[in-house]
Structure formats: C-alpha cells, structure tokens
Symmetry: C2
Subunit: 106 residues, 2 copies
C-alpha cells in the first residue's frame, strides 16, 4: 500500500493563537480515535506566529471516503466548533488548505 | 533512539517560485547524499503561493553536529547559492525558520 503524504497551511486569528494551541495540547480522545479510524498517521501540527502547518500521512485506500466519514463524526463536528473559528477568514470558509509537494526524500 | 521531527516555514520571492520549484524537482545527488549522511529522513517540502513548508525527521544522535557537517559540505554550499537567494529577505539572512510543534499523533 502506498502511503500518501499531506501538507496543509492555515492562518489563525491573532487573538486565537493561545486558544488553538491550548486545545491542541489536549486533543479530545474521541477526536484522536476518529483520526486513527480514518487512517491518518504521523500527524503533526506546527505553529509560528499565527501561521499553522499540518503534516500527516494517509495509510488507507479511500482518502475522500475517510474524510467524509470524519466530517460526519459527532465528536469531530463538536471539536471543529471550537477549532475552526480560530482561523482567519473562518466566516468565509477558510481553514487548512492543501499545499503542493515539491520535494520528497525518504 | 528517539526520532525528532521538525517543521520549518519560509517565504519565497514571488519571482523565484518557479525557480525554487524547478530546482527541487531534480535535487542534486550530492545534496541528497549529504541529507542522508546527516541523518535526515522522510523529508518533504510543500508550497502554496510563495509560502514553503519543510517537514523532516532526524534519526541521528547529534542534530547540531550534523547540521554543522551539512553546512560544510561543498556540494550543499553550492546548492544553497542557488536556493537561498529565492527566499524573501535572503539579503537579511531569511531562510527556513523552525516552527513549534503543538500537536502530534503517531
């Protein structure tokens, strides 16, 4: 099975950086369970100023299907009610956006 | 041995995005050899607009020493003469900067 890698970037509201960081210091167990069941692995989030970057690997066989499944999980939906409004432009739908991979070395 | 993970962010000059991307589509073998010898693994670079993000893992036991070794490798020094000027603020020393990890899930 081919592991797929993802890089995503987002921008936080300046006054939400602390809240977003605090939430991620203790991610709810139900959210982690769903991440795992949706086949995401080696998932890291980095911050500098109000810029956030997420890196993760996908170990399943149906990424779109698994993301659909995640988006219907009640605990994840509740989690996103706390995390998504931390993003600059959330009101217009801004959240993490996929970046393009331009280099990889195993 | 503990694997260390790194996330780094950088900003490219708008007119250097194509050049930086092209360089990374065919990284010189000597650069890859040094990356490997300096114990960097699972190294990816992502781009969106002129924002770049690097993720890599360090599998050695002396990160600072290995980075010092990398900075003295003649091929890498030559490579950086092509890549570093692509960064916004390069003239003031700007390049990739380490971010803080706020979340990790294996």
């Amino acid at each position: 099975m081919q592991i797929r890698r993802f890089g995503q970037i987002g921008t936080l509201k300046a006054d939400k950086v602390k809240e977003y960081t605090k939430l991620h210091s203790a991610v709810w167990p139900g959210v982690l369970k769903t991440i795992n069941e949706c086949n995401l692995r080696n998932y890291s989030i980095y911050i500098k100023g109000n810029q956030v970057f997420a890196y993760f690997e996908y170990a399943g066989t149906d990424y779109d299907g698994d993301m659909e499944k995640m988006s219907k999980d009640p605990v994840t939906i509740e989690w996103w009610k706390h995390t998504k409004p931390c993003f600059e432009g959330f009101e217009k739908g801004s959240f993490y956006e996929d970046m393009d991979e331009i280099f990889h070395f195993d």
